[in-house]
C-alpha cells in the first residue's frame, strides 16, 4: 500500500507554517497565534494512561489537560496579558522542537490532516529544577481560508502519562 503522505509543495507549505506557528508560540506572540486559529478551533490534550497491548485506547474522554475552544484559548492569552499571571512572570523559556511532519489529504478539499512529533522544552527560573521536556504526537487539521492555512483543530497525544512539569502554561 503506497504511503498517502503528500510530498509536494503542500508539504513545504505546511512545514513552513508549523515552524512559523512554533516561532509565534516560543516568542510569546500569542495574539498572532490566535489569529492563526479558526473561529471554531478545538484544542484537546487528553490524559494518557498506561494500558496493556490490545486495550482500546490509552486516552481518556473527559477531564483533559486541555479542552479548549476559541473562547478559552482567548482567555488563556488574555490572562498572560494581565499583570498577575504569576506562573509565567518571569516568563519561561520554551521551545517547540518539531519533526516528522506528515501531510495527508482530508475529506474536505480545503483541509489538510497534519501530524508532527513534538519535543517541547521548557526552562524556568535560575536553576535546572524546572528544565522540563514533554513529548507528544500532534494531530492537526489545517483549513485553507482565503488562501491562508489556519488551525482548525489540534489533538496532542502525549507520550507521558505523568507529566514531569509542574504546570503547562503554553500551547503545545
Amino acid at each position: 500500500m503506497s504511503d498517502p503522505t503528500v510530498v509536494d509543495g503542500t508539504l513545504l507549505e505546511v512545514m513552513a507554517w508549523l515552524a512559523h506557528e512554533a516561532e509565534l508560540l516560543d516568542e510569546g506572540r500569542l495574539r498572532d497565534w490566535l489569529a492563526l486559529t479558526t473561529d471554531d478551533v478545538r484544542y484537546l490534550v487528553p490524559v494518557r494512561t498506561t494500558r496493556d497491548r490490545g486495550a482500546p485506547t490509552p486516552f481518556a474522554d473527559g477531564g483533559a489537560h486541555f479542552d479548549d475552544t476559541r473562547y478559552t484559548l482567548t482567555k488563556r492569552v488574555e490572562r498572560l496579558e494581565t499583570q498577575y499571571a504569576w506562573a509565567e512572570d518571569p516568563p519561561s523559556r520554551i521551545r517547540h522542537h518539531i519533526s516528522g511532519i506528515r501531510v495527508r489529504a482530508a475529506e474536505s478539499a480545503d483541509e489538510l490532516l497534519v501530524r508532527s512529533n513534538l519535543l517541547f522544552f521548557r526552562s524556568r527560573g535560575d536553576d535546572n529544577d524546572m528544565d522540563d521536556i514533554v513529548s507528544a504526537d500532534r494531530h492537526d487539521v489545517l483549513r485553507r481560508i482565503d488562501g491562508e492555512l489556519r488551525l482548525a483543530s489540534r489533538t496532542v497525544l502525549l507520550d507521558q502519562t505523568r507529566l514531569p512539569t509542574h504546570n503547562i502554561t503554553t500551547i503545545l
Binding site: H65, W86, D129
Partner: protein, 448 residues
C-alpha cells in the same frame, strides 16, 4: 510513642508551637528529609488514603493501579462485584503483577515466573508446581496477593489504610463525615469520575498544598487575580468578608463554604433537582435556604475537594465543576499531584461535556487557577531548604488575637457539627491541619 523516640528537631519545634497555640511554625516542615521519612511511616502508613472512586471500576474485572507513597495497589472489582485492593507484588519474588494503570482482567499473571492470581487475589496457578514445589506444599489459601490491611468505601470513595489497627473510616472521620457527605452524597445515583485522573509532578512538600486545600481562601484574590481580571470566574470578594463559612470537624477535616452568586454554583435546573433529591434535608437546607455551597475543603492527610465554576463560552455563563484531588508524596520537596473530575452520574450528557471543559480551563495541569498555585507551591520547598530558612518561622495566626483567641467567634447557631466561623478569610482550618498532623506524628501526644 514520644517524639524523642526518633528525635526530629523540626517535629519538636512544630509541636511546641502548636501546643502553645502560638502557630509560628518552622519553615523546615516543608523541606526536612528526615521528617519526611517519619511522615511516611507515621502519617501515610496509618491513616486513610483516598485511592479511587467506585465509578472508575464499574464492571467485574475493572481495575486501576493506585499508590500509597511507595506501595502500589491494584484496586479491582472482582468477579462477584466486590471491590478489593491488592498489594501489587507477586508473593514469590515481589515482581509487579499489574503494569497497566487501568484495564479489565480476570487474572493477574506475574511475568517473571508465571504465578497467576485471580482478580480477587487468590493464587490459582504456579507453573510446574509438582516438580518445583511438590503438590500441596504451597499453601494457596495464604499465598494470594496481599490485601490492603483495611479498605472502606463511602459514597463511592475507596479509601485504604496500611494499619490493620487503625480506627475505621467512620470513626476516623467522626463529625467530618457530615461535611464529607455534603460534598459527595448529593445524587441518588452517586457521582461519576469523568475520564481518568490527571497526574503531574510538583516540586513541593505535600503539606504546603494539603494545608491550602483545607480552606485557604485568602490566597485567591492574589494568586488568582489574573483569572478574575479576565472574567473567567469569580473568587471570594475581599470586601464580602461575611459571605463565607470556615468549618472544621472531627479534628481531621475542614473546608470553606460560600454564598455563591449565582446560587448552587450556577447549576442548571436539572442539576439542582438532582441535588434536591440527592442531598439529605439538612444539606439541602444549607445550600437552598442559607445559599451556602462547598467551595474548598479536605480531609487529613491527602484528600481535597474544590467545587467552583468557570465560563467556557462568550455568553459568560458560569459552568460548575467538582474536582477531588490527592497527592502522592515522593520526597520532602516533591509530590505527584492527582486530580479527578467528578459529576453527578445522572447529569445530562451536555452538562458532563460542559463541566469537563470548565474543569480543564480552570484546574488540572493547565488550569488557569492551578498554574499559579503550582508556581507558588513549587517555590516554598526550595526556600525552606537553607540554613537561614531553618531558623525561620511561618505565620499561621490569621484570625487569632495576640492572646490566641478567635477574632470572630465561632457560630453558636450553626446547623452542622464541628465548629463554623462566619469568615471568608481565616486560618482556622490551617491550624486544624497542623494539629491533626502533630497528633498523627506523635500518636496523640501533641496537637490535642
Amino acid at each position: 510513642m514520644a517524639t524523642t523516640e526518633t528525635p526530629n528537631a523540626t517535629l519538636d519545634a512544630a509541636c511546641a508551637s502548636i501546643d502553645a497555640g502560638e502557630f509560628m511554625l518552622p519553615l523546615a516542615l516543608f523541606s526536612d528529609p528526615e521528617l519526611f521519612e517519619l511522615e511516611k511511616e507515621r502519617v501515610f502508613a496509618r491513616t486513610w488514603n483516598f485511592l479511587a472512586h467506585e465509578s472508575e471500576i464499574p464492571e467485574p474485572g475493572d481495575y486501576v493501579l493506585r499508590h500509597i507513597v511507595d506501595d502500589t495497589f491494584i484496586v479491582v472489582r472482582d468477579e462477584e462485584g466486590v471491590v478489593r485492593a491488592h498489594f501489587d507484588a507477586c508473593r514469590h519474588r515481589g515482581m509487579s503483577v499489574c503494569r497497566a494503570e487501568m484495564g479489565n482482567a480476570s487474572h493477574f499473571r506475574c511475568p517473571y515466573h508465571g504465578w497467576t492470581y485471580k482478580n480477587d487475589g487468590r493464587l490459582i496457578g504456579i507453573p510446574l508446581e509438582p516438580d518445583a514445589y511438590g503438590r500441596g506444599n504451597v499453601d494457596r489459601a495464604t499465598t494470594g496477593l496481599l490485601a490492603i490491611p483495611q479498605l472502606q468505601i463511602r459514597n463511592g470513595f475507596i479509601f485504604g489504610n496500611l494499619d490493620p489497627a487503625a480506627p475505621s473510616l467512620a470513626e476516623y472521620m467522626g463529625d467530618y463525615a457530615w461535611y464529607f457527605d455534603f460534598y459527595t452524597d448529593r445524587s441518588t445515583s452517586g457521582l461519576e469520575v469523568l475520564g481518568t485522573p490527571q497526574r503531574w509532578i510538583l516540586n513541593s512538600n505535600w503539606k504546603v498544598l494539603a494545608e491550602n486545600f483545607m480552606g485557604d481562601a485568602y490566597h485567591s484574590p492574589t494568586s488568582h487575580k489574573s483569572v478574575v481580571e479576565i472574567g473567567l470566574a469569580g473568587v471570594a470578594d475581599p470586601k464580602k468578608r461575611k459571605a463565607g463559612i470556615h468549618f472544621n470537624a472531627g479534628g481531621i477535616g475542614a473546608g470553606g463554604l460560600m454564598r455563591t452568586d449565582p446560587k448552587f454554583h450556577g447549576y442548571p435546573p436539572e442539576l439542582v433537582e438532582i441535588l434536591r433529591s440527592g442531598w439529605r434535608p439538612e444539606h439541602w437546607h444549607l445550600a437552598d435556604a442559607l445559599g451556602l455551597m462547598p467551595v474548598s475543603g479536605g480531609m487529613f492527610p491527602s484528600l481535597a475537594f474544590l467545587w467552583l465554576n468557570a465560563t467556557i463560552e462568550e455568553d459568560g455563563e458560569l459552568i460548575p465543576f467538582f474536582t477531588m484531588r490527592t497527592w502522592r508524596p515522593i520526597a520532602a520537596d516533591k509530590i505527584e499531584m492527582i486530580s479527578f473530575l467528578a459529576v453527578e452520574r445522572d447529569a445530562p450528557a451536555w452538562f458532563k461535556e460542559q463541566t469537563s471543559r470548565a474543569y480543564s480551563v480552570a484546574f488540572g495541569s493547565a488550569g488557569l487557577f492551578e498554574q499559579d498555585d503550582a508556581e507558588n507551591w513549587s517555590s516554598i520547598s526550595k526556600t525552606a531548604k537553607g540554613q537561614l530558612a531553618a531558623r525561620h518561622r511561618f505565620n499561621v495566626r490569621m484570625g487569632l488575637t495576640p492572646g490566641n483567641e478567635p477574632i470572630v467567634a465561632a457560630l453558636d447557631d450553626w446547623p452542622g457539627p464541628g465548629t463554623a466561623y462566619p469568615v471568608a478569610f481565616a486560618e482556622h482550618n490551617a491550624r486544624v491541619f497542623w494539629q491533626a498532623w502533630a497528633r498523627q506524628m506523635t500518636n496523640g501526644l501533641h496537637g490535642v
